[in-house]
């Protein structure tokens, strides 16, 4: 192949070195025996990995993060799938505007959104922090749901749906028996993407913490302000392992080339 010199190859490899090496370093540091973070680590131990489970606040906030991510994603799917279906199946007045509106949460800076929720829901209307956190996450993941489901509906042949209806199936039944199974892999991919984005979110969650309520990333941030032991590195390794599994599912359902679109 022309136009691909040695210099370019080296350049690309160096850039990828920059992208990957910090994550390798953090992994190495998680398995050392030293009391503070070091790389290369001395010795090998799993004590920091075990230590994660001894820090009560990590266990508790991990549960909250998981709950919020799952509940938020399910909620966003429940309202997002009908919306995505409506947007791709029908033509109507204001369609472009509404499509833009459903994707708009991705354009709003998370920190501004989080602050507004605190300001408006928690302070002004005294909505419980946990509920506010849940709706906040539901809103920020909505665009991922709409986009992924819409793109899998684009590949769906609506003549199958029309055939089912002309054979006497009701609209609702047709949707559940014909349409939904055909976009199942899109729904799974949307779930995973939404889940990751909720689970990793910082700027919205940071404003919506209260007594006993905080998410794992927020807890990790406040932990590193005071402690510098390898527990956080070990926790990072656990999160990266989770990311690898979720990435594998995305590759199997949506394909990772989705990210270059």
């Amino acid at each position: 192949m022309k136009g691909k010199g040695k210099f370019l190859t080296l350049f690309a490899l160096l850039v990828y070195f920059f992208l990957i090496i910090p994550l390798i370093i953090i992994t190495g540091a998680a398995f050392g025996t030293d009391e503070f973070l070091k790389f290369p680590p001395r010795g090998f131990s799993l004590k920091w990995l075990a230590n994660i489970f001894k820090v009560e606040m990590f266990v508790r906030t991990f549960k909250i993060s998981l709950e919020i991510a799952v509940l938020g994603t399910v909620l966003a799917l429940l309202v997002g799938i009908p919306a995505a279906y409506g947007l791709s199946r029908y033509d109507f007045v204001g369609k472009n505007f509404l499509q833009g509106f459903f994707l708009s949460p991705v354009l709003v800076p998370g920190i501004v959104f989080g602050f507004s929720l605190l300001n408006f829901l928690v302070i002004k209307y005294e909505m419980p922090v946990y509920t506010s956190l849940l709706v906040g996450h539901t809103v920020i993941i909505m665009p991922y749901i709409i986009r992924v489901i819409s793109s899998s509906l684009e590949n769906f042949d609506y003549s199958i749906e029309e055939a089912a209806i002309s054979l006497g199936a009701s609209k609702l039944k047709t949707f559940f028996v014909i349409v939904l199974p055909n976009i199942a892999s899109g729904v799974i991919a949307a779930f995973i993407l939404a889940f990751i984005n909720s689970f990793n979110n910082v700027p919205v969650s940071i404003f919506l913490t209260g007594p006993g309520i905080s998410t794992l990333p927020i807890q990790m941030m406040s932990y590193v302000e005071y402690y510098f032991d390898p527990t956080i590195a070990a926790l990072s390794v656990v999160l990266m392992a989770m990311t690898i599994i979720l990435m594998f599912i995305i590759e199997k359902t949506l394909g990772l080339s989705y990210f270059t679109k």
Partner: protein, 273 residues
């Protein structure tokens, strides 16, 4: 496509959620900043830009975002071009290694640089061991570490935007230019670069707006004298309980991202004309 009134019913639940929990709270944040004792006023904005500390934060945020975007373009452009020209199989591998950091928690990604740049970090301990320095360098909690962290955070996004456009550049076009006698530089300037502009625009908008609004990285890698807009909103709201000035900064952040996106798009349509 069919016409159907019932479609609004399908959209309704989602619309209600977005209206109640996105549009209204945002509007209330923005609106209060223009509220004065007698009607609408811009005094809070005038006060923000008159204050040398606040103005400094604003300029710093723009400067760091601009620097981050420039570095991301310089690193991302050649890399993406390389990725778009390798075989499909290898390209898949490169995409995996760009998506992985993208999906990894920003806390983890910023934290990894604390391990590298810290006082006892890899760089300092190596330099000390080699007797190149007497005492640890201050690599962390300054603008330098914020920019490194932001580039690290957003480079994958730039690469993905560019690869998406560059992989559609027809190899035949490049070969045709070469066979007609164009030098490598000419091929780059006249064929590859112009055709990559759409990806460059999308990538730059994403990286620039992302950097202006980033909270986690400046919070973890920055120090007390490297406050940016996002950390200023948090401080004003949560440390000073000054809701008004937090709302002003929030509104300025929104307006800036909208303006920058508009500006870059305008610029690109002029370049394409």
């Amino acid at each position: 496509m069919k016409k159907n009134v019932y479609v609004y019913l399908l959209l309704l639940p989602g619309l209600i959620i977005l209206l109640l929990f996105l549009a209204v709270p945002l509007f209330s944040t923005v609106f209060r900043t223009f509220q004065g004792d007698e009607g609408l006023t811009l005094t809070k904005y005038i006060a923000f830009f008159k204050d040398s500390y606040d103005r400094g934060v604003y300029i710093r945020t723009l400067k760091l975002a601009l620097l981050t975007t420039l570095i991301a373009v310089i690193l991302g452009f050649p890399t993406s071009y390389y990725i778009s020209r390798v075989s499909r199989r290898v390209r898949g591998l490169y995409i995996i290694f760009a998506v992985f950091p993208l999906l990894t928690s920003p806390v983890v990604r910023s934290f990894s640089w604390m391990v590298i740049l810290g006082k006892n970090g890899i760089i300092n301990s190596t330099l000390l061991k080699l007797n190149l320095i007497e005492e640890p360098l201050r690599l962390l909690y300054n603008e330098f570490s914020i920019v490194i962290g932001l580039v690290y955070l957003f480079l994958p996004l730039m690469i993905m935007s560019l690869v998406g456009v560059m992989e559609n550049i027809d190899e035949d076009l490049i070969e045709a230019a070469e066979s007609l006698g164009a030098t490598r530089r000419e091929v780059f300037a006249r064929v590859i670069f112009p055709l990559s502009i759409p990806g460059l625009i999308v990538g730059s908008v994403l990286v620039f707006t992302g950097s202006i609004t980033a909270y986690t990285t400046p919070q973890l890698l920055g120090g007390s004298n490297t406050t940016v807009l996002a950390t200023l909103i948090y401080q004003n709201a949560m440390s000073l309980f000054d809701w008004d000035s937090a709302s002003v900064v929030a509104t300025i952040m929104i307006l800036t991202t909208v303006f920058v996106t508009f500006l870059i798009n305008k610029l690109s349509s002029r370049l394409n004309a």
